[in-house]
Symmetry: C2
Subunit: 752 residues, 2 copies
């Protein structure tokens, strides 16, 4: 394994010198606040702004009618509601003032007259004919399928059949930094937006369309981000567009920073799912058939729901060979807040369901859960339920390694024999996950990277991939450093600036390192070739004899023939040889039959297995995490410390998902709107997290690397819930496993 490097952004962050969007100040900056809808579904009859405008210090009060362009595309969340609101927390108007307090005060003076419309909050209800229609075309947003084999025939041949329903809930991205943007008007009608985002190009499009500008008239510059986790896409786009509108109207830099309450109310959440599973197996544990029907709540607008639901469809049957599988996942519009991607997006929900199901099935069959998984899990050459033949499969290794490292067998048996009010349980889960967008991706799955070796051998790099905290800049630096034989610390990776880089899509789906890394690799290889040509001429050796290592370029045969990297960079400059490289990498085209859900869903998959150990107080329902151990095949750990950090961070997030976090609105209204009531885990809640790094290089990954950001999260909850189930002797079917829910399950056992 490689040695770790210091993350390029570490120093700035630990010294507090990193500047976030909310820290930015510009001369003459004005402040923007947002008025939110007070109804989950209503027509806007009239917005009276004159009173608010009259307040001293208020510079403007603006509504959708002040946007030169469109508030939003059809079915997409508008920057500001034009004539209808579809959820509580939808932005209706903005105030722009000399200071934030005045801007906030002015909100109360805006009079909005609504005609209240009937609302629907349940996706199953929303699909009924009599349900109020949110968008033209009806409330069914999408329906994806997998049709593999003949499940009815499979069930007929099965010896054991289980049918279970699982429910997952909404959670919040809970980035410690809320959405914030500063928009600075250019002298020439353009606008520059400084904000944290994972999706600068989507954001740019939305701002440009709202303001009727060309894409090159909107410049988006990435600031230090205080967490994305799949958020800061549409949520940031509306914030950015509102700030930009204020900037263009007032001609002054405009700052809009959400409060925690605003962020919780308005921003997107993880999709809640209801998932019905029916599984059939033989007595020996061989899976023969599965039927899955799921429904998810898209909330009021489309966002990336199709991408999420499609991924769920592909992954719903888990990493298991099953000859007969039908899967259907439907997404419906409701008057809840919009759902959107959140770390794992579509995977955690189905991963939870299928792994809980496997544990229960193992119990029914009298098998060890590990045994059942090893028996049916994907292996090299397995056929996935999408018909794809799988390569580079490391599931078995993940499972056996995590079992060995945790003493699975011994503990599983020991914990089965406990008595008393505090009982331990150990739970297992495994996962697979498609890399990057896959065949269901809406956008182009490609990225660009630019690299320039300066004449002193230091290196400037730009890419279109955002640093959302996952360490992408350090990963790119590592890839380039390795190819050019220099220290990563000699490489400076600039923030994304949409005027300087190419549209590389959003930094989602664990694609940053993979797609951006390939682009960086290609750019580095281009420059390496140029340098090798000059070095070969100077050293009088063939190009293919040259080694780039240790800040030098030398002949492998005669290592005394060498130039320092710096000397070589200077020599290239003097000769007029450009050391600028541009890498463009596009994921290979995938064949996909949408009707049958068969084909190459993703070009590659990543595998993981995790074991959780918990202690449950049966009298209170309290769950304490003792150990969490996760084995992830990361292909090539470009920066092992960062990989371990990802696993720990993903673990903590998964623990929050499993046990405590919940952003479930009631009649569209969220009640827990701050971190006093929306609970996220602290380090005291996570127990001991142990990462097991497995490295099976992915032939399609840059230097063999695989994505990790999302697998690290999706696998946590099923391992924990399965552990709770062992400790309590009760199955749980719904997240989160709160005190009350666990206690109730235990009590039901007592009542049996």
């Amino acid at each position: 394994m490689r040695t770790s490097i210091l993350r390029l952004d570490a120093l700035a962050k630990v010294t507090g010198r990193a500047r976030y969007a909310a820290d930015l100040q510009f001369p003459g900056m004005v402040h923007v606040k947002v008025l939110y809808s007070t109804h989950p579904h209503a027509r806007i009859r009239r917005i009276a702004t004159s009173q608010a405008r009259g307040i001293p210090g208020v510079l403007a009060v603006l509504t959708a009618r002040d946007l030169p362009g469109i508030p939003g595309r059809e079915r997409e969340r508008p920057v500001l509601a034009l004539d209808r609101v579809r959820y509580l927390g939808e932005g209706v108007a903005i105030t722009v003032a000399e200071d934030e307090v005045t801007a906030r005060e002015a909100l109360a003076r805006i009079m909005v007259e609504y005609d209240v419309l009937p609302a629907v909050f349940d996706p199953e209800e929303a699909l009924k004919a009599e349900a109020p229609e949110l968008h033209p075309g009806g409330n069914k947003l999408c329906h994806f399928k997998v049709r593999h084999g003949d499940p009815e025939a499979g069930f007929a041949a099965a010896e054991v059949i289980l049918e279970r329903t699982y429910r997952t809930h909404r959670v919040y991205h809970a980035a410690l930094e809320p959405e914030a943007a500063v928009a600075v008007p250019g002298a020439d009608g353009t606008v520059t937006i400084y904000c944290p985002t994972k999706s600068p190009f989507n954001l740019r499009r939305i701002v440009a369309e709202a303001l009727a500008l060309d894409l090159n008239q909107v410049r988006v510059v990435e600031t230090t981000i205080g967490g994305s986790f799949g958020g800061k896409d549409y949520d940031m786009a509306v914030v950015a567009a509102r700030a930009a509108l204020a900037a263009l109207v007032t001609g002054r830099p405009a700052r809009l920073v959400m409060t925690r309450e605003e962020s919780l109310k308005e921003s997107t959440k993880r999709h809640p799912y209801v998932l019905h599973y029916k599984v059939g197996a033989r007595r020996d544990g061989t899976l023969v058939a599965m039927k899955i029907h799921g429904i998810t709540d898209a909330g009021a607008y489309a966002s990336k729901t199709p991408l999420v639901a499609w991924r769920s469809t592909v992954e719903a049957a888990g990493p298991y060979v099953i000859p007969h599988v039908h899967t259907d996942i439907v997404a419906a519009f409701t008057n809840n807040m919009p759902s959107d991607a959140l770390r794992g997006f579509g995977s955690p929900q189905v991963n939870l369901a299928v792994e809980l199901l496997m544990d229960e099935l193992a119990g029914e069959l009298g098998l060890d859960p590990l045994e059942l998984r090893l028996k049916n899990g994907y292996r090299e050459g397995s056929e996935a339920v999408t018909g794809q033949s799988l390569r580079d499969v490391s599931l078995t290794e993940c499972l056996t390694k995590v079992a060995a490292a945790t003493g699975w067998q011994g503990k599983r048996q020991a914990y089965a024999r406990q008595e008393g009010p505090r009982r331990r349980g150990i739970g297992l889960a495994c996962s697979f996950r498609g890399s990057c967008f896959g065949a269901g991706g809406e956008g182009l799955d490609a990225a660009g990277a630019m690299l320039n070796v300066e004449r002193d051998g230091s290196i400037n790099v730009s890419t279109g991939i955002c640093e959302v905290g996952q360490g992408s800049r350090s990963a790119f630096a590592r890839i380039i450093a390795e190819l050019l034989g220099v220290e990563a610390a000699r490489i400076h990776v600039s923030p994304v600036d949409s005027a300087r880089v190419v549209d590389s899509g959003p930094t989602v789906a664990s694609r940053g390192t993979v797609v951006g890394g390939h682009a960086a690799r290609l750019a580095a290889e281009q420059v390496r070739r140029a340098m090798a040509g000059v070095a070969a001429a100077i050293l009088n050796v063939p190009e293919d004899d040259l080694e780039f290592a240790g800040e030098a370029v030398y002949s492998r045969k005669d290592p005394e023939r060498r130039l320092s990297f710096r000397e070589l960079a200077g020599a290239c400059y003097s000769r007029g040889v450009s050391l600028y490289g541009f890498g463009w990498y596009k994921i290979p085209d995938l064949h996909w039959d949408g009707e049958k859900g068969q084909g190459e869903a993703y070009f590659s998959y990543v595998y993981a297995a995790a074991v959780a150990e918990v202690e449950v107080d049966l009298e209170t329902g309290q769950v304490e995490i003792i150990n969490y151990t996760a084995a992830h095949d990361v292909g090539n750990a470009l920066n092992p410390d960062a990989v371990a950090g990802q696993i720990a961070g993903g673990g903590a997030m998964g623990i929050g998902y499993a046990l405590m976090e919940s952003a479930e609105p009631c009649q569209g209204k969220l009640v827990n709107t701050n971190f006093a009531t929306y609970l996220i885990p602290t380090t005291l809640d996570t127990g001991r997290i142990t990462p097991l790094i497995i490295e099976h290089p992915d032939p399609l990954g840059p230097l063999g690397a695989r994505g990790l950001g999302e697998p690290a999260t999706q696998i946590v909850a099923p391992a924990i819930i399965n552990a709770i189930c062992q400790a309590t002797g009760r199955r749980l079917y719904e997240l989160p496993a709160t005190l009350e829910r666990v206690w109730r399950a235990v009590r039901e056992r007592g009542e049996e």
Copy 2:
């Protein structure tokens, strides 16, 4: 001729919304002032800063010893003087304070003990053995030669011989914006410098070396510039480095804005020359021999003196076929302020001398000055005095057109017959000038440009060439617009950001449009090829049948087969075809024999001719410019209005050089340190300026374009002085032609 486009920066400038470096504000910004040397030559024994540091609000008082790196390279001006000062106005220390007033007050509390050294202010004196030595290796900075034929044999065959000495003076760049920089420390030990500059990469190197940083740790971002004219290179570098030092020491953004007085005292000036000419001709006007010896004052540091002196050497004999020419130009260090490039750098001085000489020779021979020039001027295939065979020569056309447009013959004769105290004169001059750096260039003569077509067909462009007011961004936009068939307004050219672009050398020598334009062309052609491939596939036509015009791409044979440019950009995006282009253009290698001064001095030359009409008050010496008409071959007027503006601006600058501007120090001390005493022309001083645009495409220029920035200035003074000479009947040999100097010349005539 093309239609004109609105300059991309016009709106921002005329509305006052353009933000200059001095306008920038950052939170926590500190202010920097500079203590200047009080002796033209001295050793620094000690700098006591404790008193200054004790002033409330003073954050730091810093000297060269606080620089982590080197103050400057050998013979180069230091960022701060280390142990010796070589001119009055050299920076010795800086104060950093919460506000500018406090920083200025603190200067007075810094105690510097000097050991005064003998100083030398005359370059001829400086070359003598007994002169104080400024730098190791002596005061002779450089000596360039041309050895062409045998002048002694030529003079022996001549029928008329003239020997004359001409003197040109120092002038100031007089940009309305003085040097200003704001340095912002990065969170990671880097520093970003916002400043106007024509030489961001030279500046970056100087800052990096002074602060012991890698080049990629210093980011230079170009701000709107309030004039360069060849300045804002070393002058900006020292300002930037001082601001950067203050920023890194205090950890806060640091602003350093020079006052006019500081700028006049410290900053570089145009090289003053003393030029001895001896010319021999036959009675019929055929030139046969010339001998030239010039000396120029480099001032205290090297700067670009070698480049300037070399250019003078190549161009000193003017655009004339002369079989026997020897030229020697020497530059010497003195304790005057450093000389550096100023619009034309090295051309205006010799252009003045040779054109005054030609007029006087024509008088001696009884020939019309136009006739003498047409007889000897370069034509297609002429051999230059450097032995180079010339192509694409348009001198004759420039001369005949300007003569025709001004009614030369008639006025010349009419004005010869005047009487009375106010007399008119008409004067002619012509010029040639080597394009770009030429074979004597110190740096790489290459540039890079990046271009990205966004998915909506709008275009982002970056280059390493600065917008110094010459309209380079508009020129690049024009080139790209023409190649891609789009409106220039759809193209956004970003400011130079050294972290994003490649080292493209300084924006000097009228090379911006040529070298940067080629780079932009190559980038556009690359993108065009990519787009053509996709368009051909969609439209089912061969690629070579495609036309890019009118925001569309269509088949020439069947124009109905077409895609809008926007559609095509979107189609390329959807197909994953990158529309990013990188152009790198390097001037062709030139062969040059430095010892003989023979070879290809420049890859191409530009030609011009100008006529000035003046009215002189013989009783006061006052000169009024009536008309100034200049014919310039610009190859291809990419933006005719901008070309006309360049000619007018260059004309005004040349008028200032000819008649009023002077920054001549006395014993190293400049007395006219503001615009009340350093006079520059206003529009009331320039008379009527008429541009004559000639377009002989340069096969080596982008779309045939040629540089204009400098020819527009260099040719003005000789035309004016020759006009004054006709009006007064007296020859002048020294610039500027002030009231006093003209009056004295007239009085000498009266006394004869």
